[in-house]
């Protein structure tokens, strides 16, 4: 007890940082989920709501960034603490980006609202569900300090990539069938592509979690199929 005393404040601050990051992650996940829901259900209200919340997300990211700098200024961290705080800085950026994607998709949802959908959206929500799962895995890995959980993220990203490919092929076909669909289709294409990107960012997050926990630089590519050129 006496021994750990010197680190009490440091650890309190570090968990506070982690908590902020979790909150950010929750917000990003929600933005993604709700915007896709809005897209699917053509709900402008929800889409606007996502856009309104984007500011809060940006602000939280800014705060995390400043608090990380503060943490460095206060504790001169080394080793695991240093890895963790720098990782948090990085992860915050990735998460913010994911939140932004939520905004982008919400905009798409608003554009699409009221227009008849050319097909029922099935794969896109599936992608989103997978992304949520990835994000949760990565975050609980960080929270519970269990590297194994973060590793499970990588194969899931392959799944997301597959889904995107599939959607793309499908949409291309649909477009070619009826050029009137082109506008809507490119929009959806974009959404799919965006979700694929979100997957990439979550993969980055997972890599960071692993680095902060183990000190090893782990590249997701080691855990998944080689990317075709």
């Amino acid at each position: 007890m006496q021994e750990l005393n010197a680190r009490r404040q440091l650890e309190a601050d570090l968990s506070e940082l982690t908590r902020m990051l979790m909150r950010l992650s929750k917000m990003a996940e929600e933005a993604l989920a709700r915007s896709v829901w809005a897209l699917k259900n053509q709900d402008v209200e929800t889409a606007r709501n996502v856009l309104d919340k984007d500011d809060a997300l940006d602000q939280l990211t800014g705060r995390i960034d400043v608090e990380c700098m503060n943490f460095v200024a206060r504790f001169q961290p080394l080793g695991e603490d240093l890895r963790t705080v720098t990782s948090i800085m990085h992860m915050a950026v990735d998460l913010e980006r994911i939140g932004d994607y939520g905004g982008n998709i919400a905009r798409a949802a608003i554009e699409l609202a009221g227009k008849e959908l050319m097909k029922p959206l099935i794969d896109i929500p599936r992608m989103t569900a997978t992304l949520s799962e990835m994000l949760e895995k990565a975050m609980s890995s960080l929270e519970r300090r269990e590297p194994a959980l973060a590793r499970e993220v990588f194969p899931l990203d392959d799944l997301v990539d597959d889904l995107e490919k599939q959607i793309m092929r499908e949409l291309l076909l649909l477009m070619m069938e009826r050029p009137q669909r082109i506008e809507q289709a490119t929009l959806l294409l974009n959404v799919a592509r965006t979700l694929e990107r979100a997957g990439d960012h979550i993969t980055n997050v997972a890599e960071r979690v692993l680095y902060s926990l183990t000190g090893k630089v782990i590249r997701a590519t080691d855990f998944r199929r080689p990317k075709e050129r």
């Binding site: 503060n70 200024a73 206060r74 504790f75 001169q76």
Partner: protein
């Protein structure tokens, strides 16, 4: 965070003989906050701190101009009772300096001076003060043994207990951890953060990380001037004044 103003320093100049050591120091310190004073050696941090409880009175040739108001009362006014002032403004020094008496007597020293005689009352004060300084559990079974026998960190906490035994509103600390090892330092820092519940704390420190860790506000002194007084976070990541920036990045000092 900003509450009421507890200490108001207005155009304070301090001279040691002909040398002007503090120049026009004007700023307000809020109650129930920790304020850190930083700056290179000799910039006048300790001097300003010692103005607050008039410890400079004992230095031959020291002369204060301007006003220092504590709770809106000018402490350099004619009618100020210095002894009452010091009771109201506790001080903790750089090197732990417990008196060579028992732990109990150390803490009871101040109250006794000020006329507390009853044993029960003193017992109460001693326990409360030691608890307040996070030392009670460690020493409660050896209150009669000498304060000198404690470890450095414990000694410093004893000094804090002694200072808060007279129930001051303000606690001044002049580099209270510079003679301590990192572990003891961490405990004192934790205590300082805790003390602001009941006191207004002003702490001089050379360790910028320490200032960043414990304080809410930070004042940067340079060559007897107050250069910048700001929320601590801002001072250490993005100060407004170029000189502050230069100091915290080690361009001088």
């Amino acid at each position: 965070m900003k509450g009421n103003v507890q200490i108001r320093s207005q155009n304070v100049n301090l001279y040691y003989g002909p040398a002007k050591v503090l120049k026009d120091i004007t700023f307000d310190i809020f109650d129930h906050t920790v304020t850190a004073l930083i700056g290179p050696s000799g910039c006048g941090k300790s001097s300003w701190l010692r103005c607050l409880n008039r410890m400079n009175d004992y230095i031959a040739g020291a002369r204060v101009e301007g006003e220092i108001l504590i709770d809106e009362h000018d402490i350099y006014a004619r009618d100020t009772d210095v002894i009452a002032l010091r009771r109201n403004v506790g001080m903790v020094f750089q090197k732990p300096n417990p008196f060579p008496m028992s732990i109990y007597d150390n803490v009871a020293y101040g109250p006794r001076l000020h006329g507390v005689r009853s044993r029960e009352q003193l017992d109460g004060i001693v326990e409360r003060s030691l608890r307040g300084a996070a030392l009670w559990t460690e020493v409660k079974d050896k209150l009669t043994s000498s304060g000198i026998g404690l470890s450095g960190g414990q000694q410093q906490r004893l000094c804090i207990a002694r200072a808060i035994a007279t129930e001051p509103k303000i606690l001044l600390m002049d580099e209270p951890t510079s003679a301590l090892d990192p572990m003891a330092t961490a405990r004192i820092e934790e205590l300082v953060r805790d003390l602001k519940k009941n006191f207004t704390v002003v702490i001089v420190t050379h360790n910028m990380q320490q200032a960043a860790r414990v304080s809410d506000f930070t004042a940067f002194f340079l060559l007897g001037e107050l250069v910048e007084y700001e929320v601590t976070t801002k001072i250490f990541t993005a100060p407004d004044d170029k000189r502050t920036e230069d100091y915290i990045t080690g361009r001088f000092g």
